[in-house]
């Protein structure tokens, strides 16, 4: 039983990281109908920025964290301007390919600049554990869970309560109509990319104490975050986190109770089953086209 709870908690913590990356996917998808395959790599780059600020320049953890978030928000805007804006409105597949290309580019450039070793960031949560009875919970994992809950709530409120959030949903529905209504669609898209890169950075920095950051971490985790976003229905913010937690828990349970090898495949098997039964994901909305 204790093992089970322990696995459950570490699965939830892992799942929250997936959920955070998936949140980035969902944000961009909600606002622009673009699927950003480079989201994991944005996370990785954010981790490396934070590593540079905290580990190499020796800044305070929180200052470095904020610096990395701001730098990555700017980078997200840059990436949107250069890669995504010219092809908005073209078939989804072109944009998927463009972001895959962006991911390739980021991975190898990061590998060239920082090298291909593993890096670790010292954080206030790196040490120490919380003991509840005989249950041992590490602070770094708890910090991930807490940050995910906070970010998810903030983003949910942002999308559903603020004017800017409404503008984003409107431009996702119909960019042209949104533009006619006076919504500055280009700026909105740009802001969405900034937010999603910032969320990715949070994921990267929180992740750094748990799994080290290296130039391929984005690919590995990004590919796990995909099933998370799809499970949640790709357009739903709470769905992304729930999907992420499900994937994380499934993975850690499979790693513990099933023979070796199941750990890596189990999330994908679950994903395929869910897609078979409910193709639009658990929280998704089915779209129909009028003919």
């Amino acid at each position: 039983m204790l093992d089970f709870v322990q696995q459950l908690v570490s699965g939830i913590a892992l799942g929250c990281v997936y959920g955070l990356i998936a949140l980035g996917f969902v944000l961009v998808y909600k606002a622009t109908e673009v699927v950003n395959f480079a989201q994991g790599d944005l996370m990785m780059l954010g981790g490396f920025f934070a590593f540079t600020f905290i580990g190499m320049l020796g800044l305070n953890y929180w200052v470095g964290f904020a610096g990395a978030v701001i730098a990555m928000a700017l980078f997200g805007m840059l990436a949107e301007r250069v890669v995504v804006r010219p092809i908005l409105g073209y078939p989804q597949f072109s944009i998927i390919m463009a972001t895959i290309g962006l991911g390739y580019f980021l991975r190898s450039v990061v590998g060239m600049i920082w090298g291909t070793d593993d890096f670790k960031i010292e954080t206030p949560f790196s040490q120490g554990v919380l003991r509840i009875g005989s249950l041992v919970l590490a602070y770094d994992k708890l910090s991930v869970i807490a940050a995910t809950v906070i970010l998810c709530a903030l983003l949910y409120l942002f999308f559903n309560r603020t004017t800017l959030g409404t503008a984003m949903r409107a431009s996702s529905e119909n960019m042209l109509a949104a533009y006619y209504m006076g919504i500055p669609v280009k700026r909105v898209v740009s802001i969405v990319w900034a937010i999603s890169a910032a969320v990715a950075t949070c994921a990267g920095v929180l992740l750094a104490p748990i799994t080290f950051i290296h130039s391929n971490v984005g690919l590995v985790l990004g590919l796990k975050a995909f099933p998370a976003a799809v499970l949640g229905g790709f357009g739903s913010i709470p769905g992304a986190v729930v999907g992420g937690v499900m994937i994380g828990v499934i993975e850690s349970m499979a790693g513990f109770y099933l023979p070796q090898g199941w750990k890596d495949v189990a999330p994908y098997i679950v994903l395929l089953v869910v897609l078979l039964l409910k193709p639009e994901g658990l929280f998704g909305v089915h779209m129909r086209k009028k003919v």
């Binding site: 109908e33 699927v35 890669v83 010219p86 092809i87 908005l88 409105g89 073209y90 989804q92 597949f93 072109s94 944009i95 998927i96 390919m97 463009a98 895959i100 290309g101 962006l102 991911g103 390739y104 580019f105 980021l106 991975r107 190898s108 450039v109 590998g111 060239m112 291909t116 996702s172 529905e173 119909n174 960019m175 042209l176 109509a177 130039s215 590919l223 995909f226 099933p227 799809v230 790709f234 090898g261 890596d264 495949v265 994908y268 098997i269 994903l271 395929l272 897609l275 078979l276 193709p279 639009e280 779209m287 129909r288 086209k289 009028k290 003919v291």
Partner: protein, 383 residues
């Protein structure tokens, strides 16, 4: 400019619309036939890879280019073909038999993947195919009694009708070339048959296709099966060419390379698959060239333009450092994909068509001829 006067449907679906095709393809075929006797063995070896990649490209083109179903899991089909060959070869099954068996088995698996894919589209389909590829990769690594797991399998030299066919020899090249040509001709015939027309109709609008009485599910499954089968055939050749296969060779990276092949070539024509394959396979020799010769060339240029010896040496070493940096290949891939998507969405073959049309229409060419329509409305994108 040549105007083709068509009076019936037979004229419209001819493989060779006019005599010029016989000349140009005849010359190309002649060049390809004499290639192994003229070119160095390294280049011929690269040509074999071009043939294999182009075969996969043709298979993927049927699915992605003509039926409109994206797949990022074709490495798995290639793996199934390759492993079937390696497994059957252990029991001294002759090459033609296991070649066809690999194609059939992969086609069957493709059909099985096609069924779940029926309800999916767009991004969901991409993710489902990625998941499928991951599962296949893991199965290959774990099913040790058949696949020898991560140790990989050795593929013996091919024996065709009692004679050995070494993987570097001209016979193997001709084999790959003829497989490619047969695949292309077969696909061209497929595309002018009712089945191919149905594929294209599904790509252009599923709703419209369905209302015209096309059984969309059936044709999607067919498209998956044919595409996978062709990829499986290429997998057999791939296994023989590499003479060793292991699960980590068939990763997502390879699937992405296949997509790059058709993306760079142009996703609307079979020419694109071949052009894209040439482009992709030639990246490696290009990188080698970059590493070995480029620093000297650039330094030489700098010296010609009046740089001092110290500066020229500095340039040479920095270019060398850049060219041999780790992961340069990844960066080049990334930049190439992004540039093609942004500036040449119709790929190399699209560029060729544009150039051709420019000269045919000479002073009257309009750039807008090839402009694609942008769609900004979500419900329109949902087909």
């Amino acid at each position: 400019m040549r105007f083709l006067f068509k009076t019936d449907y037979e004229d419209d679906i001819r493989l060779f619309p006019h005599s010029g095709y016989f000349v140009s393809y005849g010359v190309l075929l002649a060049l390809l036939v004499i290639a192994p006797f003229v070119l160095s063995s390294y280049i011929v070896s690269q040509l074999v890879f071009v043939c294999i990649y182009a075969t996969v490209g043709v298979g993927l083109m049927i699915l992605t280019g003509f039926t409109g179903q994206a797949s990022l899991g074709h490495a798995a089909f290639l793996a199934i073909g390759a492993y079937t060959a390696a497994y059957l070869q252990q029991f001294d099954v002759p090459f033609p038999v296991y070649f066809l068996a690999a194609g059939l088995l992969t086609g069957l698996v493709g059909a099985l993947v096609g069924f779940p894919a029926l309800r999916l589209q767009g991004i969901y389909l991409v993710i489902a195919t990625i998941s499928f590829a991951f599962i296949v990769e893991e199965v290959l690594a774990r099913w040790e009694s058949v696949t020898h797991g991560n140790e990989g399998m050795r593929v013996k030299t091919m024996s065709l009708f009692g004679t050995m066919v070494p993987r570097d020899g001209p016979v193997f090249y001709f084999l790959c070339l003829s497989v490619l040509i047969l695949t292309i001709v077969g696909t061209l015939n497929l595309l002018r048959s009712p089945t191919g027309r149905a594929f294209v109709a599904i790509r252009d609008s599923e709703t419209a296709a369905r209302s015209m009485g096309i059984n969309v599910s059936l044709y999607k499954v067919k498209s998956f099966a044919i595409s996978a089968g062709i990829t499986g055939l290429a997998g057999v050749l791939f296994a023989h060419k590499l003479s060793f296969i292991s699960p980590e060779m068939f990763t997502l990276q390879l699937s992405i390379e296949f997509i790059i092949v058709i993306l760079i070539g142009g996703t609307f024509s079979l020419h694109g698959a071949v052009l894209g394959a040439i482009f992709l396979v030639m990246i490696d020799p290009f990188l080698t060239y970059l590493k070995d010769d480029m620093p000297g060339v650039i330094a030489g240029l700098a010296a010609t333009f009046g740089a001092g010896k110290a500066t020229a040496d500095g340039i040479q070493s920095s270019v060398a450092a850049f060219a041999s940096a780790n992961g340069l290949k990844g960066a080049i891939y990334g930049v190439i994909i992004v540039l093609f998507v942004l500036f040449e969405p119709l790929g190399l073959y699209g560029r060729w068509l544009k150039i051709k049309l420019f000269f045919q229409l000479f002073p009257l060419y309009k750039r807008a001829t090839f402009k694609r329509q942008k769609i900004y409305v979500k419900s329109e994108r949902n087909r």
